[in-house]
Amino acid sequence: MDLPTVLAGLAGTSRLALDVQQPATVAEVMDQVAEVHPAVERRVRDETGTLRRYVNVYVDGSDVRSLQGAATPVQDGSLVLVVPSIAGG
């Protein structure tokens, strides 16, 4: 998982290597993030498991909101990218 600078500071790295059992979804990847870096996880999704409104998550280049949201499959070797959405005009 690639993190933006502000979250990389919390994780101590800009790229997280996560070991998630297949088949996996974005939600399960985030569950794994919650175990190792909870401060990162709660900035990406709220306590209902919903991705925060102004945080975009891409799986191999595709915005999960245009796929299956948190239920979007994540394949072995996939890159999950977390990007803050554009702020303001």
């Binding site: 502000v6 979250l7 909870p38 401060a39 709660r42 900035r43 990406v44 709220d46 306590e47 209902t48 498991g49 919903t50 925060r52 102004y54 945080v55 803050p84 959405s85 702020a87």
Partner: protein, 329 residues
């Protein structure tokens, strides 16, 4: 953009513990604390203020952090948006939802004020742990007599101008409530149109506006060791949220709201159009008392002499949401 809407100096600890409820529009709300006067901050994973998973609700913003009295050093309360009350019994390290209020049958009928549906005021009773008073915009005042297990609306006498009924049981847009330092049954309340007082712990309210140039406003605070004294910052009206006459004026009562007078020496008296928000007027607990307020246009003003005279101590900050002050050894 980062915003800090709730700050508390927990003076039960030395140095005072600073509790902060902040957050970011992208990354959500965060609770953190500092035990070294802000030199370093801890965001405890257990301190994350979260609704239970099965509630289907997420915290949008922390509006209030309220430490309990000195003899209950572990007690801290938090008010959030959407309107809910949380309690900590480990000095703010972790919080749990007060389900007695969350499950209140009237909650589904609460409507948001202009700032959202927020629980912005928590007043734990100084001597009786069973009593707690809260205020919600726009639901009004609720009180618990059993430590938060059950809650009763407590708005008798508080007039509403935006509903068909003038005196509904609940639905008032209460902006702030302050408790007297010596008599916990005496309360002063800034409503969405109207300043009120109660002598019976909030069971009933009466208008308390003599001497005020207007009865709208947000900022209100009580003197921490002079009974009957409180301060507020009036605004013209809900549709005209500016100080009357373009003057920055703090009003003070020394007779528990029977009369108010301006105490504004040194404050701008021309072309001042900014607003003091509900938690942006505060005091320290020194003697003589320090009084402080911040504005939506980023100014902070301070008085070292119980509001007799003022000076500007900061300018050009972002919008000031919350001001708190404490005496540091």
């Amino acid at each position: 953009m980062t915003r800090v809407a709730a700050v508390a100096f927990d003076t039960r600890y030395r140095p005072p513990r600073i509790l902060v409820g902040g957050g970011h529009e992208h990354w959500g709300p965060v609770i953190s604390h500092s035990d070294d006067l802000g030199a370093s901050w801890v965001e405890g994973d257990e301190a994350a203020l979260r609704f239970p998973e099965d509630s289907g609700v997420a915290v949008e913003r922390v509006w209030q952090l309220a430490p309990g009295p000195a003899d209950r050093p572990e007690e801290v309360w938090a008010g959030v948006e959407p309107a809910a009350l949380f309690r900590s019994d480990d000095a703010g390290m972790s919080f749990s939802l007060v389900t007695g209020l969350w499950d209140h049958p009237q909650r589904q009928s609460w409507a948001p004020g202009f700032g959202g549906l927020c629980l912005h005021t928590v007043l734990p009773h100084p001597t009786d742990p069973s009593q707690v008073l809260i205020a919600v915009s726009a639901a009004g005042v609720y009180r618990s007599q059993d430590g938060g297990q059950s809650w009763t609306p407590s708005n008798s006498g508080i007039e509403v101008t935006f509903l068909p009924e003038k005196f509904p049981e609940f639905g008032q847009c209460v902006h702030k409530v302050a408790r007297d330092c010596a008599d916990p049954d005496r309360l002063i309340l800034q409503n969405h149109g109207g300043v009120f007082r109660s002598s019976d712990g909030g069971a009933s309210w009466e208008r308390s506006e003599e001497g005020l140039p207007a009865n709208f406003g947000f900022g209100l605070t009580a003197h921490p060791h002079r009974s009957g004294t409180a301060f507020l910052f009036p605004l013209i009206a809900d549709m005209n949220r500016m100080p009357p006459d373009g003057k920055a004026r703090i009003y003070r009562t020394d007779d528990f709201g029977a009369t108010w007078r301006s105490v504004s020496e040194g404050l701008p008296q021309d072309n001042f159009f900014s607003v003091v928000l509900r938690d942006a007027l505060t005091t320290d607990d020194d003697d003589p008392l320090g009084v402080y307020f911040g504005t939506r246009s980023g100014g902070v003003f301070a008085s070292r002499d119980e509001a007799a005279s003022w000076e500007q101590v900061a300018a050009h900050l972002p919008e000031v949401l919350c001001v708190r002050a404490a005496v540091v050894d």
